[in-house]
Amino acid sequence: MKKALAILLVVLVIAAAIVAWFVTRLPSSPFDGQPRAEISNDLVARGEYVARLADCVACHSTPDSAPFAGGLEMATPLGSIFTTNITPDPQTGIGNYTLADFDRAVRQGVTPDGARLYPAMPYPSYVKLSDEDVRALYAFFMKGVEPVRMANRANTIEWPLNTRWPLAFWNVAFVESGRYEPESDKDDLWNRGAYLVQAAGHCGSCHTPRGPVMQEKALDETNGNYLSGALLDGWYAPSLRNDHNTGLGRWSEDEVVQFLKKGRNAHGVVFGSMTDAFNNSTQFMNDDDLAAIAHYLKSLPGDRERDGTPWQYDAASNEKLALSNRTDNPGARIFMAKCGACHAADGRGKTPWIPPLAGTTSSLAPQNASSVNVTLNGSGRVVTDGVPDSYRMPPFREQLSDKEIAAVLTFVRTSWGNTGGPVTSQEVRDLRERTDPASSNPIVLQMR
């Protein structure tokens, strides 16, 4: 008996050692052992563009911080994570990182000391980055970014939930290991688009639904869940597939390009968390890359069953807005008092400057978070080509009660053919409590 226990103990110790090795091991990098190379200005410039594609600045800077000095608070149900200093400062930043260290952090979520990053860092997408892009990105962060001495803030997640080694197993289960491999039966444009969307663009981080342990349910087009729309952080990121109602079904490739380049088109204007992605990333992509993204996205089929009957404008709703009718219809009445001046009394907006509410994904998606959030909090300024928008969406949280917001959004989401459905006061209250109004100040994050 004693012997059996001893054997079991030995087995356990060995197992623990293997686990310990596994969860703290440094995964290999193709750059292991490579000597530090000279960094050319061209490579820095290329890396800066990759940093735009990957939108590093949106998370690793704040409006008050120096570029890439970190400090952005990311609230999670468990506590707050603060993004880190990724300037080349040797003490507090990543100045001592070798290219291989940098690669392991970006593509595998592992720091030089073997710690696992929370997947708030989108390494499940970045893992698909090409070696060339990683090398360029490294060049930018070493030579193109000013070192800033700023210590990282400790996360506020409590023990034992702050234990990060189990993420090693999460990674085994949910992170695909390979670089992006072009599909041989697709053309170059499609493959470039797929690479941008899946890897640097990490579009799926917001637009792909997540599973029970927060993993993205799909990481490429082979699964119908990919980019099919998801609820994240109080916003509903709509489908980027060819869904007629809740996706890009009615958009042409040109309109997708226009949206990503100018922040607006005939269908809508960026808002919510997409404002950050537009302000800091997509508008800086070159025309070829935007065309590739549009081409790839438009190749993703929609799902009629999920998406529902194709939307058609229904002018009959306008009758509800007539003065004699809206006095008995709180939603219609509030719409005319608060919304109609900008979004037009027929719900069609003043495109492309002020988006329609008729037929937009936020009015058609059954998930109403974006409708509620943007009404409570307004939206941040859209800054296109360096110029803030002429027309901003104001927050209504100080003017309308939960019940009133529910009423007006129920009106919007069930009028003009919209099928998003009603909103309840409770839903408004829940979101009100955990969100803040958007700033009316234009926020331009600097990369240099």
């Binding site: 360096g386 110029v387 002429s390 927050p395 009660s401 234009p442």
Partner: protein
């Protein structure tokens, strides 16, 4: 209905420069209440022709009056019109003694000048403190009488009859014996060249002979304001003018450093130039919209030098109103005494029944609808013409001269009518656009109009003070207050604007806590001065705008603790005070009898009424409010308010002013609160700073009591009693004691 005989548009719209210069009017073109949309003339100041040395302010008739051949009367008012009806009141007062129908008047705000300092020391003249009529009533009447006398003299020469045989009818001199009549317009040319008679030589009318004073004379500006013809500072346009928009530093005290994209912005459509100003950057452009878009695009690196001494205010990055409120509430000390009677401290020490509570007022925006603007134009002769909304032309002139580095005499201040003011347009350091306009006009060598967007206005608008007030009172066995100790931690607007004197209490910090008529035998009212990081301002009703709420709400708390009905308590505390007892009873009668409730209204709501009083600006008011709760929020249905201003000039305007004050009081009580976080105001527009909407407006029932006492103010006195009347009703209805505003931050069960 009221009789209005406004002038036709053509008459109003055509300034007649020759006439003006001939008469020596220091007339500006802006501020004309007419459709002169391109105000490009900008007449130079010319010396008055009828020069008499050593004349007292308000007596040099030609400096005030021009009577045109068509018998219209241009009058330069010492006070500016911002909705309170002063232009009409002035026409009534001057017209009364001049014997001219107020409807024939065309009134503008007078330029800066000694003649217009009709209030005497220390104010000279300001449009504020609800002082305009009461401070100048006799002077302005005498001015009208002097002008009439000059017209009579001119007529005597013209008709070659003894002056004693002449009389006047409205607008004309009459010689009864011969039946001849000469209009003022025909006589004016001669009359205005006559020396002004000794002011003591004219006798003023008796009150019972008044034709226009005391009557609901129609406002002179109503038609222009209903047809878009009224011209405000923001509408002023001069030849060759460029437009400017600004972006202020996010916090006061920061300075603009490097602008990252200055070259790009300079290349934007319509942009003339990019400028760095004191605590701001600006873009000058051909059109304001271009300037506004461009200035918003500027990426400025603001540098934070930290607090620089005590002169200038500095807003630290970690300032929040929530923390400041806590600081005020816990500020140690007993404060500097503002009012003391008996021995409150020892009574309180011995008392058994002591009530203690801390009450709060909040920072408020003025939120006048017209955003601040200034047009500045340097002229070839070294003078500066400047158009800006202001409540004190001479003060502005002096400061503008300093900013521009020229003599005050070379600064022509034009004061167009105000698109609301409520205290916004005094001389506030860092809160007015004129230093920017002056610098920009000089830098670009052309006239410049600066307009602040609403967002920039809410960033720099100075605040109605916040106060935390510690109240302690003792009640005797009958429940009557025996001692009252009030310590207010607050910075008053006067010390904030003109400098704090450590030896003195700022009366504008405590008015409304002090000066109450209630006979509480032992009182100690004091102030603890706490310097603010925010800029502080006068706001409609100034200290009274908050202090009467703080006091009267606590008084209701005492009434409830002492088991005395709040009306009964006030009546008892005013025993022997005939004037205020009468007023209180008046409002009770106006409301159909005291009915505190709660009671069921016809529409099924449960309602209650609250009552409060105030004695601000020389007048006295009493208000009753009726409220209910709908979905957790307060609805104000009716306000009954009676005012005793002693004597009156225009009851229709008083009615309008009480409505207006009730609206602002309700807005403050229900909705308004300027919140700072991380050193910045969270609301930059009406989106996050809601003001009273039409569907939230209570019905307002106005009572006027003319006690015949000394004349008081009208524009502000209506406000202070309204918030406590509302909150007292709410406290009673809900059983939840309201000790702070706005009520929207509290939730109530239905």
């Amino acid at each position: 209905m009221l009789d209005t005989k406004n002038l036709e548009r053509g008459d109003l719209a055509s300034p007649t420069p020759t006439n003006i210069s001939r008469r020596g009017f220091l007339l500006a073109t802006a501020g004309v209440t007419a459709g002169a949309l391109v105000l490009s003339v900008g007449l130079p100041a010319a010396p008055a022709r009828a020069q008499q040395a050593g004349m007292a302010p308000g007596t040099r008739v030609p400096a005030f009056l021009e009577i045109r051949p068509d018998n219209t009367i241009r009058f330069l008012s010492p006070f500016n019109e911002g909705g309170q009806g002063i232009f009409t009141a002035m026409a009534q007062i001057v017209g009364e003694e001049l014997d001219a129908d107020p409807a024939a008047f065309l009134v503008e705000n007078a330029p800066a000048g000694e003649d217009y300092k009709v209030m005497g020391a220390p104010f000279g003249r300001v449009t504020g403190g609800s002082m305009s009529v009461r401070s100048s009533f006799d002077v302005m009447r005498r001015l009208g009488a002097l002008a009439r006398q000059m017209l009579l003299q001119a007529a005597a020469s013209r008709l070659e009859v003894p002056l004693g045989e002449l009389a006047t009818e409205p607008g004309q001199v009459v010689h009864a014996a011969s039946g001849r009549k000469v209009s003022y317009g025909d006589l004016s040319e001669t009359a205005m060249d006559l020396p002004v008679p000794d002011p003591d030589s004219v006798t003023l009318k008796k009150q019972e002979d008044f034709s226009w004073i005391g009557k609901p004379v129609a406002r002179l500006d109503v038609r222009d304001k209903s047809t878009g013809r009224a011209v405000y500072a923001i509408d002023v346009k001069v030849d060759g003018m460029l437009h400017a928009a600004v972006q202020h530093a996010p916090r006061l005290g920061l300075t603009a450093g490097h602008i990252r994209n200055e070259d790009t912005v300079r290349g934007m459509t319509g942009v003339h130039s990019v400028h760095t100003l004191d605590g701001a950057v600006a873009v000058v452009a051909e059109r304001w919209w271009n300037a506004k878009r461009a200035v918003e695009a500027l990426q400025v690196e603001w540098s934070d030098p930290g607090a620089q001494g005590t002169d200038k205010r500095y807003m630290p990055a970690d300032f929040s109103t929530a923390a400041f409120r806590e600081r005020l509430a816990n500020e140690p000390g007993e404060g500097k005494v503002a009012e003391e009677e008996g021995d409150a401290a020892s009574v309180l020490q011995k008392a058994e029944n002591v009530v203690e509570a801390t009450y709060f007022s909040q920072f408020l925006h003025h939120a006048q609808l017209e955003p601040p603007s200034t047009v500045a134009r340097f002229n070839d002769d070294g003078t500066l013409d400047i158009w800006l909304p202001n409540q004190a032309p001479e003060q502005f002139q002096a400061n503008i001269a300093k900013v521009a580095g020229i003599e005050a005499a070379k600064v022509n201040v034009h004061s167009p009518i105000l698109g609301g003011f409520f205290g916004r347009h005094f001389l506030y350091p860092e809160a007015n656009p004129y230093p920017q306009a002056i610098k920009l006009a000089r830098d670009v060598g052309r006239p410049v109009k600066v307009i602040w967007s609403r967002e920039e206005e809410f960033l720099r608008d100075p605040m109605r003070p916040m106060a935390a007030v510690r109240m302690r009172a003792s009640l005797d066995e009958q429940g009557m207050p025996q001692a009252l100790d009030i310590v207010s931690a607050c910075e008053g607007p006067t010390e904030a604007v003109f400098g704090h004197n450590p030896d003195k209490v700022d009366p504008t910090a405590v008015e409304g806590l002090t000066g109450k008529a209630y006979a509480i035998p032992n009182r100690r009212i004091s102030q603890i001065y706490v310097k603010n990081h925010t800029t502080i301002a006068y706001w409609r009703s100034v200290g009274n705008s908050m202090n009467d709420f703080l006091y009267e709400a606590f008084l209701d708390e005492l009434a409830d603790k002492g088991n005395i009905d709040p009306l009964e308590l006030r009546m008892r505390l005013l025993k022997g005070n005939q004037r205020l007892s009468t007023l209180l009873q008046h409002v009770v009668d106006l409301s159909g009898g005291w009915k505190r409730g709660p009671f069921d209204a016809e529409d099924g709501t449960k309602r209650a009424r609250g009552i409060a009083m105030a004695s601000p600006f020389g007048s006295h008011t009493a208000a009753i409010a009726e409220v209910s709760i709908r979905e957790g929020q307060v609805v104000v249905h009716d306000i009954w308010e009676s005012i005793d201003p002693g004597s009156i000039v225009n009851p229709a305007i008083i009615g309008a002013q009480i409505n207006s004050a009730a609206a602002l009081g309700t807005s403050q009580a229900l909705l308004e609160d300027t919140v700072y976080e991380k050193g910045e105001p969270q609301a930059r527009n009406y989106d996050l700073y809601p003001i009273l909407r039409p569907d939230q407006m209570p019905r307002v029932h106005v009572g006027i009591v003319e006690s015949g006492e000394k004349m008081g103010g009208i524009g502000e006195p209506g406000l202070p009693a309204v918030p406590p009347a509302i909150t007292n009703a709410v406290s009673h209805l809900t059983g939840k004691r309201v000790r702070s505003m706005p009520l929207s931050k509290l939730t109530f069960d239905a």
